[in-house]
Symmetry: C2
């Protein structure tokens, strides 16, 4: 079922703005902020309001088309849900971001499930710490 039909099935419509948000997410390979998306769209369509972007991200998330991730700040990052799932490492010292295969996180997810009945979404929040470069520097 295409996105138009899925939207329609939920009583929603496909609008120019909604399509632009989807396209922007498609083009941006990784986690982008709502503001990034708004800025990119507004470069060519200045009349589109940031609030529309927020509303559409929320709507598309409800439909399961997009998801968000929390990094080490107050800004929500968005990406297409179908994009390859991965964990995020973010360095609290230099801010560098790195992706790790979701499989690396699976053993922990399994233990949380088995021992606590908790179905963890380990891709939802970035893992904060000190990256290799920064820890080399500080230990020299």
């Amino acid at each position: 079922m295409g996105i138009d039909e899925r939207l329609h099935a939920s009583g929603m419509r496909m609008t120019v703005q909604r399509r632009l948000v989807l396209e922007a997410l498609q083009r941006a390979r990784h986690h982008v902020t709502a503001d990034d998306i708004a800025t990119r769209i507004r470069a060519r369509h200045p009349q589109i309001d940031p609030s529309t972007v927020y509303r559409n991200l929320e709507a598309l998330e409800e439909l399961g088309y997009v998801t968000h991730t929390h990094f080490d700040d107050r800004v929500t990052r968005w990406h297409r849900a179908e994009a390859e799932r991965h964990g995020h490492l973010v360095c609290r010292s230099c801010g560098a971001e790195q992706e790790v295969p979701i499989g690396l996180l699976e053993p922990l997810a399994r233990r949380l499930r088995e021992e606590h009945g908790f179905r963890a979404d380990l891709a939802h929040s970035a893992i904060v710490g000190i990256c290799k470069d920064c820890s080399t520097v500080s230990s020299e």
Copy 2:
């Protein structure tokens, strides 16, 4: 070395406000928001400004006396650094919070260290997912 001396060693002073923030953190066993702390202090000391609480949390964090954790919202939660011996699970459905021993997270931390040179602080961000109760309900 006591906290007064450590403050002094860093060119800082012990003030009434600083002591109140520390006491509030002591009394609150777990993660509390800056606003929680401000509210509690202001109940008895209404003249103390929330911004003072923020400034003191930051100062005390620099000294290593307190740390903060990110849950699944935009609010920072604080606790005494020495009390930080656990990870946090937070349910995205009902909001329930649960603590898990830090040891549970250690195998992942070790792999990240060995395979990526990344020194992860797995207590810094809560692990988001669906708790046991919510997943039982939704699967019935």
